[in-house]
């Protein structure tokens, strides 16, 4: 028992309502502490002078009633700082005053204790364990969206690889290609209906007349833009074309199958052009089918690993 504890038990001690153990501890402290002994003696004298009912009035109520009659009850101000006291963010002086009030005010003490209790009880409420099935349900729902999380070019490449690998790919190319060709060149309302005839007319022009007429006009233009055009071509498209040719050649060296597939594709493209010039759509359709096969061969040779990388 220390002085503070002795003071809090003083009324009960003098009233004789302490337990034996508490009473012995209080007596022991009183005998060793001059100040507490004096306090107990004084209090006993006052109680004796005022009568037994004086002890029945708790000291805190007396202080409370004095405060209430003077400055007004301090509970409102104490409660406004209780949360900060619980959070330990209150300045030391304020904390000491609020703590002192809480020790002597039953209502604020209960609030303070409940706030401390809530501080322990609330954070664990953040996580409520759902049933075990929820995780798998979430994963199965989001699994369908996984493809979308892969980069776009990977998605396109995978889609095209699956498309090319289908056995009927060449037929589908022929079907779709023929449809497009007929729509573009074959019907009376086609926008390019007269293109093959015009191409034929161009081919049938006497080259000497064409060259003679055109060369004069070209000479006129050449002086003005010839040099600029040549420089622009060399700087942009010419360089890009050369680079792509070099890269293509280097890549084709690594993938020998591409040479053959590319040659076939070009040959079939030439035949397709001839069929279109002659308005032979059946032949064009067959060429489109062949070109579909060439596309698959090109893809396979392009995606195949280089010879040195193969096991």
């Amino acid at each position: 028992v220390n002085c503070e504890r002795f003071e809090s038990q003083l009324e009960a001690f003098l009233d004789g309502t302490l337990s034996d153990v508490e009473r012995r501890a209080a007596e022991s402290h009183r005998s060793s502490c001059v100040a507490c002994d004096a306090l107990a003696s004084t209090w006993a004298e006052v109680a004796g002078a005022l009568g037994p009912e004086a002890l029945a009035v708790p000291g805190v109520d007396l202080a409370g009633s004095i405060v209430e009659r003077t400055s007004g009850a301090a509970c409102g101000r104490a409660q406004s700082m209780l949360c900060d006291l619980v959070d330990a963010v209150l300045p030391a002086a304020d904390a000491e005053l609020v703590r002192a009030h809480v020790q002597n005010c039953t209502r604020c003490a209960a609030l303070h204790a409940t706030l401390c209790w809530l501080q322990r009880e609330l954070p664990p409420l953040a996580a409520v364990q759902p049933d075990a099935q929820l995780t798998s349900d979430i994963l199965s729902v989001t699994a369908g969206m996984r493809q979308r999380r892969t980069p776009l070019h990977h998605g396109v490449r995978d889609w095209f690889a699956r498309l090319v690998a289908r056995p009927r790919f060449a037929w589908e190319v022929a079907y779709v290609g023929t449809l497009i060709v007929v729509l573009l060149f074959g019907t009376s309302a086609s926008p390019f209906r007269s293109v093959p005839e015009r191409a034929l007319a161009i081919i049938q022009i006497d080259p000497r007349d064409a060259v003679g007429g055109a060369s004069q006009r070209l000479r006129d233009l050449h002086g003005g833009i010839g040099n600029v055009g040549a420089r622009a071509w060399d700087a942009t498209a010419g360089r890009a074309l050369q680079s792509s040719r070099d890269a293509g050649a280097a890549y084709a060296d690594q993938h020998p199958g591409m040479h053959d597939a590319l040659a076939d594709f070009r040959a079939h493209g030439g035949e397709l052009r001839q069929h279109l010039s002659g308005r032979n759509f059946a032949g064009a359709s067959l060429m489109l089918q062949a070109m579909g096969g060439d596309v698959r061969a090109l893809w396979n040779s392009w995606t195949a690993p280089p010879p040195e990388a193969r096991p």
Binding site: A127, M145, T150
Partner: protein
């Protein structure tokens, strides 16, 4: 694994990382949804919906430190949308929460475990009696542990106002808890709290008015 690398892996389409993320955060999302809607079944559906939104928006969360507030914001918006829809629904289609719970309960369910804890039940019930804003502040600040700045952004109120409202809300909650437990400070063990008077077993649905 830290949340940063985990998020990176999720963005790259790593299923294992996504599973770990779901397992690590589902209880928090489910708990938040449960506190908002007051029904385990609806909280479960909402949790799925929230994780779908998180999955779709993973690229938007570039700062790992903002992941938890970001998920809470998504969950809150989903819950409020859900409550608005529920409020707009014709009354004849609504099931009372207690009845819905009874229908959903086929055995020991999470909410059984949750409500079986009488201290939590006491807090849950006291929370339901608070005003909507006070309850949301308690939910976000004291339960979910968000910072004042994050909550102020979420609720669109000044931070000074939020701090004073937070203190008032906590005091209000403490008074409700005291009132529900007969003026006594709730005990630390379950046995004492179970005998707290006036604490019914089934949680009530939160009020929906004033939800922004």
């Amino acid at each position: 694994m830290d949340i940063g690398p985990l998020l990176d892996r999720c963005r790259q389409g790593d299923e294992l990382a996504w599973e770990a993320l779901v397992r690590g955060h589902q209880a928090r999302i489910y708990g938040l949804a449960y506190h908002y809607v007051g029904s385990a079944e609806e909280a479960r559906d909402l949790t799925q919906d929230v994780f779908i939104r998180i999955y779709k928006g993973l690229d938007a969360c570039t700062e790992p430190g903002h992941f938890v507030p970001w998920t809470i914001r998504i969950a809150r918006n989903a819950c409020i949308d859900h409550l608005r829809r529920r409020k707009a629904r014709p009354p004849s289609q609504d099931l009372p929460v207690d009845e819905a719970w009874d229908l959903a309960a086929g055995g020991p369910s999470p909410e059984d475990d949750y409500v079986a804890d009488s201290r939590r039940r006491l807090v849950h019930l006291a929370l339901q009696t608070l005003s909507e804003l006070s309850r949301e502040i308690i939910l976000l600040k004291d339960i979910q542990g968000l910072q004042f700045e994050e909550i102020a952004t979420l609720l669109d109120i000044p931070i000074g106002t939020l701090k004073s409202r937070s203190n008032r809300a906590r005091l209000e909650l403490a008074r409700k808890v005291l009132a529900l437990s007969g003026g006594r400070v709730p005990p630390e063990n379950e046995a004492g709290a179970a005998s707290a008077p006036g604490v019914p077993r089934t949680p009530r649905a939160p009020r929906e008015e004033n939800l922004q």
